[in-house]
C-alpha cells in the first residue's frame, strides 16, 4: 500500500518536472530557430505529383512571440500581396482589392500543403503546452497540445535533435490524433550572427497525396522593428522595411 502511495506521489511530482523541462526545451528550440525579432527571405515551392512546381518569394518580419508579417516579392501575379498575424488575428492584403481582409489560419494564401498558420508561424511555445517529453539517446520527442481552440493544429509531435536543440520533424495532428501533415527540417546552415538552423522545411500530407511544399530560408538575421509595422494600416507599406 505504502509503495503505491509513494509511487503516486512520485508521479505527481514527476509530471510537472517533465513539463518544466519540456517547456524550457521548447523555448530553446524556438530561439534556435529564430531570434526574437528578425527579418528573413523565404522561397515557397509547391510541387505537384507530376513534378510541376510553383514558386513564391516572400520577405518576412517578426517581432516578439505574436507579431509576424510577410510581403510577396514574386511571382508578378502575387507581388505586393501581404499577410499580417497578430496572435490569433490574420489579415491578407491584395493591392488590387486595396484593403486588408481577415483570413483564417487553416486557409492558404499560396495553395499547396502549407496553410496560413505555417507561413505565419509564431513561436511554438507561444501556441502550445508541452504535455510530455520522451528521450531516446540524443533524440527527443515532445508531445504538444494547443493552448486554445484557435490554434491551427490541436496536437503536435515534435521530434528534436538534443545536442543542437533543433527540430527534425513535426507531426501535426487533430484532436482525435489524425495526422494532418508532417513537416521535415533539413539542411542546417549557419546564417551568421550565431543563427544556425535548418534552411529548408519540407511538408507533405496524407490529405494531399503526392503533393509536397518546400520553404527555403535566406538572409535570416536579427532586427528590431516598431510595433506600428505590425498593423493593418501599415500593410500596404511593408516593402518599405526591406
Amino acid at each position: 500500500m505504502m509503495k503505491i502511495f509513494f509511487a503516486l506521489i512520485a508521479l505527481l511530482f514527476a509530471i510537472p518536472a517533465y513539463a518544466i523541462d519540456g517547456t524550457a526545451f521548447l523555448k530553446q528550440v524556438d530561439r534556435n530557430l529564430n531570434p526574437k525579432s528578425y527579418e528573413s527571405y523565404r522561397k515557397l515551392i509547391n510541387v505537384e505529383p507530376d513534378g510541376r512546381k510553383k514558386e513564391y518569394t516572400l520577405f518576412t518580419v517578426k517581432k516578439g512571440v505574436d507579431k509576424v508579417a510577410s510581403i510577396f516579392l514574386a511571382p508578378a501575379s502575387e507581388k505586393g500581396r501581404s499577410t499580417l498575424r497578430l496572435g490569433d488575428n490574420m489579415w491578407f492584403y491584395i493591392p488590387n482589392v486595396g484593403k486588408p481582409i481577415r483570413i483564417t489560419s487553416l486557409q492558404s494564401v499560396v495553395g499547396g500543403v502549407f496553410n496560413n498558420a505555417d507561413i505565419l508561424q509564431l513561436d511554438y511555445a507561444a501556441e502550445y503546452n508541452v504535455e510530455k517529453m520522451e528521450q531516446n539517446g540524443n533524440e527527443y520527442l515532445l508531445y504538444l497540445k494547443a493552448k486554445t481552440k484557435t490554434v491551427a493544429y490541436d496536437r503536435l509531435k515534435l521530434y528534436a535533435e538534443g545536442k543542437k536543440q533543433l527540430p527534425v520533424k513535426i507531426e501535426c495532428l487533430t484532436e482525435a490524433n489524425m495526422l494532418i501533415k508532417t513537416i521535415y527540417f533539413k539542411d542546417v546552415k549557419d546564417f551568421g550572427g550565431g543563427i544556425v538552423r535548418p534552411s529548408v522545411i519540407e511538408t507533405d500530407s496524407p490529405l494531399y497525396k503526392g503533393y509536397k511544399s518546400v520553404m527555403i530560408f535566406a538572409k535570416l538575421k536579427a532586427r528590431g522593428f516598431k510595433d506600428e509595422a505590425f498593423t493593418l494600416t501599415f500593410m500596404p507599406n511593408l516593402e518599405s522595411l526591406r
Binding site: 510541376r52 483564417t104 487553416l106 486557409q107 495553395g111 530560408f217 498593423t231
Partner: protein, 439 residues
Amino acid sequence: MGGVGPMVVVILIFLLSSFLGVPPVAIAEEYTFDVSEIEKKPYHIGGYAELRPVLFGLDRDASLYKLRFYNRDEGSTLKEYDAALQLEGSLEKGIARLFVRTNTDYRNSYLGEDFKTTVYEGFLSLKPSSYLTIDIGKKTLKWGKGYAWNPVAFVDRPKDPDEPELSLEGFIVASADYIKSFHEGPLKTVSFTPVLLPVYEHVNEPFGDINQLNFAGKLYLLLYDTDIDFMLLVGGSKPARYGVDFSKNITTNFEIHGEFAFIKDYEKKIMGGGGDLMEKEYDAASYLAGIRYLTEKDTTYIIEYYKNGTGFTETEMTDYLSFIDNGYNAYVISGSDTLLKKALNVTSGNYGKPNPARNYVYLRASRKDPFDILYFTPSITWICNVDDRSFSLSPEFLYTGIKNLDLRLRTSVLRGAGSSEFGEKQNDYKVELRARYYF
C-alpha cells in the same frame, strides 16, 4: 468586328495550349535560392494584360433590352471582345514614394470599337516615421469590411458586386495615416486617417456638387481582437454621412463582419410611372452583415445581407420599369422615342447602378483544389434581390497553376419574374472567358 476577334481567339488558343501542354519540371531534391532574386530596386514596373471574349444571351422581352435596343436588332446573342492593360509603377527614394496605376480598356462590341485610358491612382507618399504616412494625389481608399458591398465606402466609387476584387479609379485627395500600437490591454492598435477631398471643375467632379472642400475621416481600432472602424464624410458635395464597421475571427475557420452607414438628408431621384421626375429627401440608413466560413473540405462560403437604405423600393422599381415599357409601346405605335430617352437619362448613375434596390443577399461558395487539382478553384455566386426574388447565378472555374497566368471561365444566368430587377435586365445569360497575364 474587324480583325480583332480572330486575333483574340488565336491568342487564347495559344494561352490554352500553353496551359494544357506545360512540360513537367523534374523535382530537384536540392533546392536553391538565388539571393540576386531578392535585391531591392528603387523602382518597380508591373501590371497585367487581359483578354476577355464575352457572349451575351439577350432577353428580347426585358425592359432594359427594350431601352437599349429599341431601334436596332442585334439578334438573340451578342459577342464582345474586351481587352485591358493595367500598368503600375513606383519610384522610391528616402521617405518618399511615387506610385502610378493606369488602366486601359479596349472594347469591341455591337457599338463598335472603344478605347479608354484612365489613371486609376497616382500619388506621392511620404513616410517620415513608422507612425505616420502622408499621401497626396489620386488614390483609392476602399473603406469597409463587406465583400460584395460597402455602404461605408464614403470616398470610393461604387464597386461591382459581380467583380468585387477589381481595382477601381480613385479620387484626388490629401490623406494621412497615423498609427499607434499598444503592448498591454485589449486595445492593440489605433489609427486615424483624415482625408481632404476637393471637388471643383475638372477635379473629382463625379464625386458630387462642385466648389466644395470635403473632409472625411476614419478611426480604426483593434480592440478585443476585433477590427472596428468609425468613419464620416462632411463637406457639401454630398449629404453628410457617418458609419461604423467591424470584423472578427470567431474560430480558425469562421469570420463575421458588418457595416452600418447613416446619411443625413439623402436626396433620391425617382421616376413615377407617368414619367414625372421627383426628388425625395430622407435620412437613409444602410447596413450589411456577413460571414466567411471555411469547411474541413476547403470550401469557403461568403454570405452577406445588404440593406440599401438609398435604394429604390419595389414599387419605385416597378414604376421605372413600367415607364420603359410604356415608352417602348409609344415608340412602336408612333415612332417617337422621347419617353425612352427620358428613361435613359435617369438610368445612368441612378436606376442603372449595380444593385439599385433595397434588400439583397449574396452567397459565394468556392472550393480550393478539388479532385486533387492544385490551383483550381471552382465557385458559384448567387446575388438575390430579396424583395422581388429575382437573382443572378454565376458559376466559375479559375485556374492559376501557370506562372503569372490566371484563366477564368464564368457564366451568369439571370432569372426573375416580370417587373423584377434581374428579370428585366437586357441579358438572360452571359458566358465569359478571361485570360490575365501578370508581368
